[in-house]
Amino acid sequence: MELINPILEFKKVCVSYTKQTMAVKYVSAQIEQNSITAIMGPSGCGKSTLLRAVNLMHNLYPNIHVDGEILLNGADILTMEPIDVRRKVGMVFQRPTPFPTMSIYDNVLAGFTLNGIRLSKNEREETVESCLRSVSLWDEVKDVLNKKGTFLSGGQQQRLCIARALALKPDILLMDEPTSALDPIATKHIEELLLQLKNDVTILIVTHNMGQAKRISSRSMFMYLGELIEYDDTQKMFSDPSDERTKAYLTGKMG
């Protein structure tokens, strides 16, 4: 699918863990700004691997190789410094990862601390409040801001992690199965939240939950064995998939 003004573009992206096996094979796709794009597929299809290529997480592991181009606003992030890229590309992980020694307050500001950015007291207070409000957590935690982040429930912790990522005002928010460790009610909260957030940030979400992809995403990718099989409007893909494999997956015959 060709988009007029994509914020992110994959061009023949390959990721390999060893020389023989490619986890992601020649994926090309364009991601629309201020939308939610879901990446679906069975376990081991390379969806998380593709996602983690976007904020250069693979750079941590010297044996993983990423080839091709990933353009963020036209610039290839594979040639950029990881710390620059990661400031523009936020990430939320499968399990909530609040920093255990930091308070809720400090967790929201962790991005600034880790980047060595000093904020005035007013700026800190404003950032914490607005970020926690944007993830609908402010009213629940405003009286316990000094408690440790791990004091919160799983769903609250995940929203705290989203707030922490949003604090740096990223262009793109990557989410790697952000609700798979949460109960249905917490999941519903996060999904509602993502629909609100897409006005401010582009969201790329990996999910193994087809219902979730259908509920929140405007476009969906279906990956299988490292290849991007189909990429289309979510509605179109769920009602009339063009590839047999997509159809088999969506109807539960595969995966």
Binding site: F93, F99, T101, A110, C161, R164, A165
Partner: protein
């Protein structure tokens, strides 16, 4: 037939369990016996002046014993020396040990790190008397005299591998997601280690430092070659200085002072016990 077999099997099971329990209990016996004996013999000597006054001369001790009085004086010179030497050793060993441990955990696959890690193990197993004599050659001879500095160098060498190891192990068991989450926010490696990983590992590292201190506080052999001992309370670091384990050895060698052995031993034992219990408490709190 079937039933008999079952009862036999159950019997063997109980027998093995019984033997294991008895053996487990036996391992606790030495410690309990040691604490009992030292408490029994040393309890009498503990008094305020035992901790505030230096070791008496043999003559004073002899006169007091002849007059049927308790021996005057105490082990204050040893306590001061131990605190000074341990303090200096800790101040140097903690930053170096932690940095080294962090490096080994971060680069666990590099050949250099593997070599360093292996050498650390060897250093940990080096007999303390050898560390003592080497420190004598390296520090006491060039400085032309025994000193607290030399003593603390010996203790530093003994503590270093323990701190390196505990830091390395603690850093390695931190979940990888913690580091990834920190890096995903755009932090550089150093900041993520400093602001996220080290604070999360603090409990384990602190426990390691306490155990390292409790491990070397009773070391006698290396101090014989380096600190030598001194009967006065002394605060200067370039002169010979006393230490509690050195005093125990001196008391043992002086018939007039022998009864002070138990008070000094009790102090040392209680201190080590206190450090170990504190370390355990911190470890538990950190793990929960």
């Amino acid at each position: 037939m079937q039933k008999k077999k079952l009862s036999q099997r159950l019997f063997i099971d109980r027998l093995v369990k019984g033997v294991v329990c008895v053996l487990a209990a036996l391992t606790a016996v030495p410690l309990i016996a040691i604490i009992g004996e030292v408490l029994w013999k040393g309890y009498d000597q503990l008094s305020w002046s035992f901790f505030t006054e230096p070791t008496p001369t043999a003559y004073k001790a002899m006169m007091a014993t002849a007059a049927g009085e308790p021996i005057p004086g105490g082990i204050a010179n040893g306590i001061v020396g131990t605190v000074i030497m341990l303090g200096m050793a800790v101040v140097i060993a903690v930053p170096i040990g932690i940095l080294c441990g962090v490096y080994l955990a971060e680069h666990s696959k590099s050949r250099f790190a593997k070599t360093v890690s292996y050498l650390t193990d060897l250093l940990q197993g080096t007999p303390s008397v050898i560390i003592g004599i080497i420190t004598y050659i390296w520090v006491v001879v060039p400085m032309k005299g025994y000193s607290a500095i030399a003593g603390s160098v010996a203790l530093f060498i003994m503590m270093l591998p323990l701190i390196v190891r505990s830091t390395e192990e603690t850093m390695k068991i931190l979940p990888a997601s913690l580091k990834e989450a920190g890096l995903a926010l755009g932090g550089n490696n150093a900041r993520v280690i400093l602001k996220v990983q080290l604070p999360a590992a603090f409990g384990g590292i602190f426990t390691g430092v306490l155990l390292a201190v409790s491990r070397v506080i009773g070391e006698t052999a290396p101090l014989m070659f380096t600190a030598l001992g001194c009967s006065m309370i002394r605060f200067s670091i370039d002169k010979p200085i006393s230490a509690v384990p050195l005093l125990i050895w001196e008391f043992f060698n002086d018939p007039n002072l022998q009864s002070l052995i138990w008070g000094a031993s009790l102090f040392l034992l209680l201190f080590v016990l206190f450090l170990n219990l504190t370390a355990k408490k911190i470890a538990n709190k950190w793990n929960s």
